[in-house]
Symmetry: C2
Subunit: 157 residues, 2 copies
DNA sequence: GGTTGCGTTTGAGCGCGCTCAAAGTCCTAC
DNA sequence: GTAGGACTTTGAGCGCGCTCAAACGCAACC
């Protein structure tokens, strides 16, 4: 494991530890900042760093989610931008945003600043979906808690 | 639409409107209570009532999630227990509990009260999974909110 | 007595998001 | 120079949770 990977992985590990109330604010960007602009990572390093399998990383590239350069041997070289993209994608995936929507978003980004309104709309609509999901989960949690609390009670199944 | 279906659907509709803090407590059981013990519903009625497609209802029966009787014509007749089971299953599904785990749970229920500890363990472990999912979603929401708030900022992609 | 409509069964198919297998390339170490 | 290992590509396969198609049954209505 390279020093870069070690450093970044520690950083990654610290990120999800966020407690609910505070917005991560600067931390959202911190990963991209912390890697040198000219650093190049192999697919294995990115996999280890992000927790995304090499298979999945190749898949992401295939479907156009991220563009990755090659070295002289034809091996993938993830630069800072590519890594940031992967991290961003995994974060959206974490919230169950469909790959298709992420692809659309990324496509809009490539088309330049003119598409910002549509990107914003996409994010907002996804945000609403996340809120619905949160609500569903909270309701389900209540049902489960009820079930646990009243175990052996009259309530079916 | 029968009167029973109308009444039950109104009841269903009122259930998910729960705000987060209060536990649904009695409401969890209310659906089962409100249908007459001798009522029998067709698959179409149950589908309309629960929002689960007839296709999915047949699938649930096939994989052993619910047992449903037949009338003289061989058509499914959902009784109170079967309906309660369907509702319970949809609630667990809503929290992304894998069908396999639900099947296991239902199997344990069929085996009698001796399996209550294992059932409880299953629920508790699923509860933990739901909590993790909630945390993930909240983190993702923060990222999305950040992205929306700082749109056009320096943060990639 | 034919048509309409809701139901039945079995088994295949699908969309998603990967995951893996096969066959090959390139670099390094012995 | 050859073995190993990490990588490459292409295309197929998989697990999940349904979803649908085909062929049929029954019952009611015109």
């Amino acid at each position: 494991m390279t020093a870069t990977v070690r450093r970044l992985r520690d950083l990654m590990a610290s990120l999800p530890a966020q407690e609910l109330p505070p917005l991560p604010e600067e931390l959202v960007c911190s990963l991209e900042v912390s890697i040198a602009p000219d650093a190049r990572l192999s697919i294995a390093e990115v996999a280890e760093l992000t927790g995304v399998s090499a298979h999945a990383l190749r898949y992401y590239e295939r479907i156009g989610l991220v563009e990755v350069g090659r070295d002289s041997a034809g091996h993938r070289q993830y630069d800072r931008d590519a890594l940031a993209r992967v991290v961003f994608v995994t974060r959206l995936r974490l919230s169950d945003m469909p790959i298709q929507a992420i692809t659309r978003y990324v496509e809009l980004v490539r088309q330049g600043p003119a598409t910002e309104p549509e990107r914003l709309a996409l994010l907002r609509s996804h945000r609403a979906a996340v809120l619905r999901r949160l609500q569903d989960l909270r309701t389900a949690l209540a049902v489960i808690d009820y079930k646990i609390a009243t175990y052996g009670g009259a309530c079916a199944p």
